[in-house]
């Protein structure tokens, strides 16, 4: 998947957030736990990304870049 596709998923959920800039999505409670689940579900079901519980951490969801880096790590590992 591409970074643009990820931005698409995120903006779908929160069109008001600038995901290219925002660095504290979890810390500042811009994303709730249920947003994280919705994003993770979309990645797993829509793009076949194999997320596990160990990946669902605030640091992986604090920014779009961090999340994309996680996805790339998982895709390379697969």
């Amino acid at each position: 998947m591409t970074f643009e596709q990820l931005l698409g998923i995120l903006s779908d959920l929160h069109p008001e957030v600038d995901f290219e800039r925002e660095q504290h999505l979890i810390d500042e409670r811009i994303l709730t736990s249920f947003d994280v689940v919705a994003i993770a579900a979309e990645l797993m079901e829509g793009y076949g990304v194999e997320l596990t519980a160990a990946d669902i951490l605030p640091e992986n969801f604090n920014s779009a870049r961090a999340l994309f880096a996680l996805i790339e790590r998982l895709e390379q590992g697969a």
Partner: protein, 491 residues
Amino acid sequence: MSRFVDYLNQTAARLPDKLAFSDGETSFTFWELRQAAGAIGEALHQAGAAGEAVALCMGRSPRFVAAFLGVLAAGSCAVPLDMQAPRDRLKAMGERVSPRFALCEEGTQALTQSLFPSSCILSYETAAAGAFFGPLGKRTSGDGLAYIVFTSGSTGVPKAVAVRESSLMDYAAALPEAVGFCEGSVFGCQAPLYMDAWLKELIGAVVKGGSVYLLPPELFVQPLTLVQRLNAWGINTLCWVSSALSLVSRFRTFDTAVPEGLELVCFGGEPLSPRQLNRWMAACPKARFFQLYGPTECTGMSFYYAVPGPVPEGASIPLGRPFAGTTAYVLDEQGRPAREGEIYIGGPCVMAGYYGDEELTRRVLQVDPVNTASGRTFYATGDLARYDEEGNLLFLGRRDRQIKHLGHRVELDELERAALQLKGVEACASTYDHDRGRLCLQYVGAASVQEVKLGLQQRLPGYMVPSRLVQVPTLPRLPNGKIDRNKLREE
């Protein structure tokens, strides 16, 4: 026993040094909880708050629990508020109840003063530090209102559900026996404290002497850490909304860590998928699992069902049977008992009414529709159900446009009314995607998606803000001009 705080008198005398409530930072033993609640009760009583509504403007901590119990001890009515909710909504709630008193703490003082400029505001820190010589509740008697909580209302204003102390007492007597709370219960509380869901943990502690850990909401963004925390705190009892259970089980969390000591898991608030329930049952083979069901208008939960074993995919988990003291009917549209129809719930659990809205109260409360001589009051839930072959009640859906999202009730009408107040929204229609658990709103108008989202965030609590917004040229309409909701859903 006639007062809820009588239970705390007993438990504090029996188990003074046992942990009652903790959030990991602040902890209260039962004795400390009684003393804090007693001092707050005295302060409120001296201020003249007996029989009055007291807005609870406090965050999630054991102090909130002491404040809630202090309000009950004073013979006042607790009105807990979500201090994170949008200001406009807090104002609307405040105006609906107009509490003459408010209890705040250091961090909420400014907001409380701006919400209730003409109320008498007490500070928790000052009130709880006062002297108190027990027992609790000696000052008052009688059956007043215990609390008022807010739920989504289809008219666009949140409904204020007012519950008597006798209803709370009924729940306190029935719930622990039905599901088996005991002194050894250690609860991991997920529910917010400004609704009625956390009464389960409150009852488990105050009535039975169990201990409660208030789980920080941040833990639910990290399922693995959450499970590790449950184990570290020795938590053996969960009463969680179904979506919170799913959140843990769906990421294969149990491959890495399982909640080792779990003995009892109660879930409710919305249907739980059999797949997620079965994962929990496999990970926690020693635990008993209960589905709980009930509307806020009937004081917490009203029905319970002990799940006997794994549930087949696609099956629905029965609602079970009512608690002791509660009666329920399934009535058809003519009001006759039927195999399939609307659930009516009656008994001491039924609310006093919607505070400040007699008209709406009259519409949902009525005398026993089957046995009019019983004198009991019944609540028409709006929930549709049918009996299966074994006599179990199965949930079918709603009569109206209310949906359950993340355990919260959402009136789609309320969401639409809020959207129509925004500049640049001419028409709109909302739907709920049950499969993905997503609220959607389609609208016609010049406002951008960002503007609509921001506008709704300023007016509605987070769980009511649709995650999907779509600007459309027109909405599908039926020949009579009404919105074609079936067509909407297909899109």
